[in-house]
């Protein structure tokens, strides 16, 4: 059994990976313990509001690289620890059996060399699947510059893999993570995705990363704008076919003259998650969300900002609007749109009906008519002011409204 001290070091160092989701895999229990839960499942919430779904742990924090923002960099004098594949496998299955977790998120600092590290990760997942007969969720970090063969073999046992880009531009990477390069991170992602495609077509019965790939970007450590970040995410979703891009607002853990001393605001991170949601589910393009060189406004959400720039589409009549258009109305999310479409079939909806159906109208009323009636403000200036007020009073309420499907990440940004 791993001791508490090492557990603490190896998990404290892993918590900066914000990816928490256990969704996307319906792996079956093939005569052992565990299975996938396609919608993902939260097992607890920590006081910082994040969902605990996976056991997030590093194999080791003893790194040979020196990325400036990282606590594990080789030139720092911090306590170092490592765990063996057996210790991780035992910990995972014993936590899983007690229903503490949905599975494992296994990462590592680069010990000795990329290949040495990737081999350790591979040995651990193989041990779990083959010896421990564990079929719960496994997310494995891809180690940049490790051989393709090792990465691909790990992908045959894992549900999801991720290479973290961390810094949103080549320039920032050069400056802050001199041993990494954008291509060094993007190429293995593309290779894996191609392999996934081949498996899907030629060997559909065999699992190869059923939950796909994700990545993470640190926001606020470097000067990239939200416009540039949203464009990068769009390319990652549409080009590299990633399942999720996570955003992590910068928290200074080590002092370095090249890095800001203060943490980046969490509101900015929240806005990026909202923009991400627009990209993934509401059919927006990065161009619509934010100009390349600009940041997202902080006082109103990105959908409101888009609507104010595109008043020619509004107001929308709820009784006639198709789903795509309803989803573009500020304040109307997937669930409200769904309710409206269902109820539309039986009756001509009025504002009163919408209220009764608990569609939140604080923002939406400026962009909707119901049965021909409009209850919004008359001019643009007033609308913007009211939206900002609605935003201030609404943020907390909105976060607590997340339902089970989205609660696994209060960070997702649905709105």
């Amino acid at each position: 059994m791993i001791d508490a001290k090492r557990l603490q070091i190896l998990t404290e160092a892993a918590r900066f990976d914000v990816s928490c989701s256990s969704s996307g895999s319906a792996r079956k229990n093939a005569g052992g313990m565990g299975n996938g839960y396609a919608a993902g499942l939260c097992h607890s919430f920590t006081p910082d509001g994040r969902c605990v779904s996976l056991l997030k742990i590093l194999m080791s924090n003893d790194c040979v690289f020196a990325c400036k923002y990282c606590m594990n960099r080789c030139d720092l004098d911090v306590p170092r620890a490592s765990a063996t594949p057996e210790e991780i496998a035992e910990l995972t299955t014993d936590f899983y059996k007690r229903n503490y977790i949905e599975g494992l998120f296994l990462s590592s600092a680069i010990v000795k060399s990329p290949n040495y590290t990737m081999e350790l990760l591979l040995r651990t997942v193989k041990l779990l699947r083959q010896t421990y007969r564990f079929f719960g969720y496994i997310h494995v970090k891809g180690i940049p510059y490790a051989d393709d063969g090792l990465v691909e073999e790990a992908a045959r046992y894992a549900d999801r893999m991720s290479f973290n880009i961390e810094l949103p531009s080549e320039k920032s990477l050069k400056l802050l993570a001199p041993q990494k390069s954008k291509e060094g991170l993007l190429v293995p992602m593309r290779t894996l995705e191609k392999k996934r495609e081949i498996f899907r077509e030629e060997r559909p019965k065999e699992l190869f990363l059923p939950a796909g790939q994700t990545t993470q970007l640190i926001v606020g450590a470097t000067p990239e704008t939200d416009g540039a970040i949203v464009r990068l995410s769009e390319r990652l979703y549409r080009g590299a076919k990633l399942k999720r891009v996570y955003y992590s607002s910068y928290l200074p853990m080590v002092h370095d003259s090249l890095l800001p001393d203060r943490p980046a605001g969490q509101l900015r991170e929240h806005r990026l998650y909202q923009a991400d949601w627009l990209l993934r589910f509401y059919g927006f393009t990065a161009d619509e969300i934010a100009p390349e060189g600009e940041n997202l406004p902080l006082d109103i959400d990105p959908k409101c900002a888009w609507a104010l720039r595109n008043l020619q589409y509004f107001p929308v009549e709820v009784n006639r609007a198709p789903l795509e258009l309803l989803l573009r109305v500020p304040g109307v999310g997937g669930r409200s749109a769904d309710k409206i479409l269902k109820a539309q079939r039986y009756t001509r909806l009025t504002f009163d009906d919408l209220k009764k159906m608990r569609v939140v109208l604080k923002r939406a009323r400026h962009f909707l008519t119901a049965d021909g009636k409009y209850y919004g403000a008359k001019d643009l200036q007033t609308v913007r002011g009211l939206l900002a007020v609605a935003e201030q009073s609404g943020t907390c309420e909105q976060l607590s409204l997340f339902d089970h499907a989205t609660a696994y990440s209060a960070l997702t940004g649905e709105f």
């Binding site: 059994m1 791993i2 508490a4 557990l7 603490q8 998990t11 404290e12 892993a14 918590r15 229990n29 005569g31 052992g32 313990m33 565990g34 299975n35 839960y37 919608a39 499942l41 939260c42 097992h43 607890s44 919430f45 920590t46 006081p47 910082d48 509001g49 994040r50 969902c51 605990v52 779904s53 910990l91 014993d94 936590f95 059996k97 007690r98 229903n99 503490y100 949905e102 719960g136 928290l251 943490p263 969490q266 269902k342 109820a343 079939r345 039986y346 009756t347 009906d353 009764k356 159906m357 608990r358 907390c396 976060l399 607590s400 409204l401 997340f402 339902d403 089970h404 609660a407 209060a410």
Partner: protein
Amino acid sequence: MIYFTDGTKESFLTAFLAAYSDDEAYITSSQAQLALGQKSVFVGANPARAARAEQRLLSFDKDCIEELTMLLRSGEPEREQLAFGYLKFLSEERRPVRGMLAKSEVLAAQECLARVTREIHRLHGFVRFLECESGALYAPIVPKADICDLLVPHFQKRLQGIPFVLHDVPRKKAAVCDGKRCFAAPLEQAQIVLSASETQWQQLWRKYYQSVNLPSREKLKQIRGNMPVRYWRVLTELH
């Protein structure tokens, strides 16, 4: 008139027929609803009448009895009245009405159903098993709805072959899986002997829970929304 039922589906369906044409009807299984001066009647289960009501309702909507069962499981004080409003409207319309969300009776019932479904989903995550000396797993739970048995399939698939018990502590009953068969049983208080390593695993889990937190970002309000306080009692990491 207040119609008291014994809490079962049959008693409810019998009361449903009796109350159908009474515009002032209020159906409940909770004695707390008794107000002075109001007329009331107790309606026990009449199997023949209940079956007739069920057939009739099913002819309008084949899924409505399943919904009724879930509403009655919800544990909410207004559950019978909520089901009454919904099923009465269904009988007037003579067709499925669950999409008519602008009708308050429908919305109320659908929202209640959604709360039960959500609780089942949440509890899949918020159950904490203790390992007993025999290797069997035991979890005390405190669900709002009466759903102990509905949690079983999820854990049965995962734990293949490991015996486990889900103990609904306030309702004093349990769902038991002995590794092969599953059944429900009344259970007042469980006598368990923990396995030798159980406490150590619990300590490691608490340590993990503390280690992943980012102390600079407390958001307690949000946590209460995502992890209601009623479940905290059994969450190992919080004690």
